[in-house]
């Protein structure tokens, strides 16, 4: 049996990053069977998940959602917003829903059968799984999860596979606002829903979840079309100016993962080692040979963050060549002085860090180059258990550094050029990924409830 081709339009790599109207219009005019966008990432660090904030502005998310959902309504095709709000937790999904609701009212859109799929994992379920030995770290540099750490975590989400999204599609939902999901999962769900091979659908999802990043030049801020066929999938940019080559698509299979052709997903392992990439038309690349097999047990990836400190920081410039030559030495002395000035505070309650941009700000101890620059940007910070303590100690650090009389100093009026007044910036809470573990589940659907949602 020859399957009808299925076209999926991916407007951009992250919801809120934007895409050109012309590319999107060309994509819509090409009659896709669905529009799917991945809104999520852990790339920006643990803060968004821990503090329950979004990774893009509300304005940016709304601008994209208006065009994407509007396009879906115009074409009467399903729209999937995956890992809503960036981290895909309850608050992130609710933030997305509030924007969608506003749009339905402002745009006077007709009702669309809408589902929310939640991805929050209750602590109790995790503790039960821990007791059975069903929670393991994602890697050897991740400590085992403890109950204490779990309690300090502000909420745990898990990446769902394609299965809960497929179920919602089978139930007839046209607009899906999905919590945390494995990035390629919504694309795989749509492919399987239309009768296509799971391996090809997942692999297509791996390409499309980044928008036009598999083009040359690549970008997450432009649209890409994926076409699933019998034993192949094709991709092409909908922009007329962007190129897509066998190399650019093959190279994309490398992106942001630990192995070039083995990918571990929820309940599955993909093997892309036998894939072939060929140009079937100008700018249209065909991929074949993607393989997938079930993993040993169905494991979902848990993600959670906890607050570890409060930060206050200062950015300053140093132009004095005498200070630049011995800056690290001086920084050690400045820190010692502050610790003496506040000897009544337990030294383990706070941390002082210096980053010397121009010397080794990016690489730290890994920096192989030893050139002495003519100016240095010094970023220094205090991390403490309260914001008040961080700010008090940082003020002391700043004034001590500013006036520190290091040996050989000739510039006795001040050591630092502050670009701003005030110089000290209260950053707020600092988080860390406290949960990044796999949890074994009985069913791919177990922790991802589907709920009908009404905009009005």
């Amino acid at each position: 049996m020859i399957l009808k081709e299925t076209k999926i339009l991916a407007p951009c790599g992250i919801l809120g990053y934007g895409f050109p109207d012309t590319s999107f219009r060309r994509g819509l005019d090409d009659n896709p069977d669905a529009i799917i966008v991945d809104a999520g990432s852990t790339d920006a660090g643990p803060h968004k998940l821990g503090a329950k904030t979004a990774i893009v502005s509300r304005m940016a998310a709304k601008k994209d959602l208006k065009r994407i959902i509007g396009g879906g309504i115009e074409k009467r095709i399903p729209v999937i917003i995956s890992s809503a709000g960036g981290s895909g937790g309850k608050e992130h999904v609710e933030w997305t829903l509030s924007i969608v609701q506003e749009l339905f009212i402002e745009e006077n859109w007709p009702s669309v059968k809408t589902a929310v799929i939640w991805a929050d994992i209750p602590d109790k379920a995790i503790v039960d799984a821990m007791d059975k030995g069903h929670v393991i770290p994602m890697g050897e540099n991740i400590p085992p999860l403890t109950k204490e750490k779990l309690m300090q975590t502000t909420g745990v989400v898990a990446q769902m596979g394609y299965e809960p999204i497929l179920k919602a599609l089978e139930e007839g939902y046209q607009l899906l606002i999905v919590g945390r999901a494995y990035d390629p999962a919504p694309f795989a769900a749509l492919g399987v829903f239309k009768g296509h091979d799971l391996a090809l659908s997942y692999h297509l999802g791996k390409v499309l979840e980044c928008g036009a990043l598999s083009c040359d030049p690549g970008t997450t801020k432009d649209c890409m079309m994926g076409v699933l066929g019998d034993d192949y999938f094709d991709v092409y940019p909908t922009s007329q100016t962007r190129k897509c080559t066998t190399l650019s698509v093959a190279a994309h299979t490398f992106y942001e993962k630990d192995h070039p052709y083995i990918l571990h997903g929820p309940g599955c392992v993909m093997d892309l080692s036998m894939c072939t990439f060929k140009e079937v038309d100008k700018n249209r690349i065909r991929v074949q040979g993607s393989a997938i097999k079930p993993s040993d047990g169905y494991w979902i990836k848990l993600e959670g963050a906890r607050k570890v400190a409060y930060r206050t920081f200062v950015v300053a410039g140093v132009r004095d060549p005498l200070l630049i030559r011995k800056i690290k030495e001086v920084e050690v002395l400045v820190e010692e002085s502050v610790r003496e000035q506040y000897s009544e505070i337990d030294p383990s309650l706070y941390t002082i860090n210096f980053f010397n941009y121009g010397i080794d700000g990016v690489m730290g101890e890994l920096e192989p180059l030893k050139d002495v620059p003519h100016e240095v940007c010094v970023l220094f910070e205090v991390l403490a258990s309260t914001q008040e303590m961080a700010s008090a100690l940082c003020a002391s650090l700043r004034s001590t550094f500013m006036h520190y009389g290091y040996e050989g100093r000739k510039s006795t009026a001040g050591n630092l050029a502050f670009p701003y007044a005030p110089s000290d910036v209260e950053f707020g809470a600092v988080y860390e990924f406290s949960v990044y573990h796999l949890m074994k589940v009985d069913s791919p659907l177990a922790f991802f409830p589907i709920e009908e949602w009404h905009a009005r």
């Binding site: 920006a44 093959a250 941390t351 860090n353 860390e432 990924f433």
Partner: protein
């Protein structure tokens, strides 16, 4: 001898999740890819030295012929975005790799 950066079309670093950094080197010409692969210079010792990695921190060096690329993955000493991290996205850790000399 030529530097890796002069032979490759793309050299980049990026997080692979918050606890790993992955380095990609991709080539546009098969002869350059073959030269680098067959030189044997991109090996465990070279990478551990360039990135000051302790034993066990380097997870994998994999050449992938059909994409003309090599991927190197190692464990971060500090996870992304927490205290002491200098590169939240891990996007600027490719410098030492660029300078590696290929015979």
């Amino acid at each position: 001898m030529e530097r890796l950066v002069d032979l490759a079309k793309m050299i980049r670093s990026k997080n692979s999740g918050p606890f790993l950094i992955t380095l990609d080197v991709l080539f546009s010409e098969e002869k350059n890819y073959r030269r680098v692969k067959e030189s044997g210079v991109i090996n465990k010792e070279t990478i551990e030295k360039a990135y000051h990695l302790s034993p066990g921190q380097l997870l994998d060096i994999v050449f992938f012929d059909s994409a003309l690329g090599v991927k190197i993955t190692y464990e971060r000493s500090i996870s992304s975005g927490t205290i002491g991290d200098r590169d939240v996205y891990g996007a600027q850790q490719h410098g030492p790799l660029m300078e590696i000399l290929i015979p």
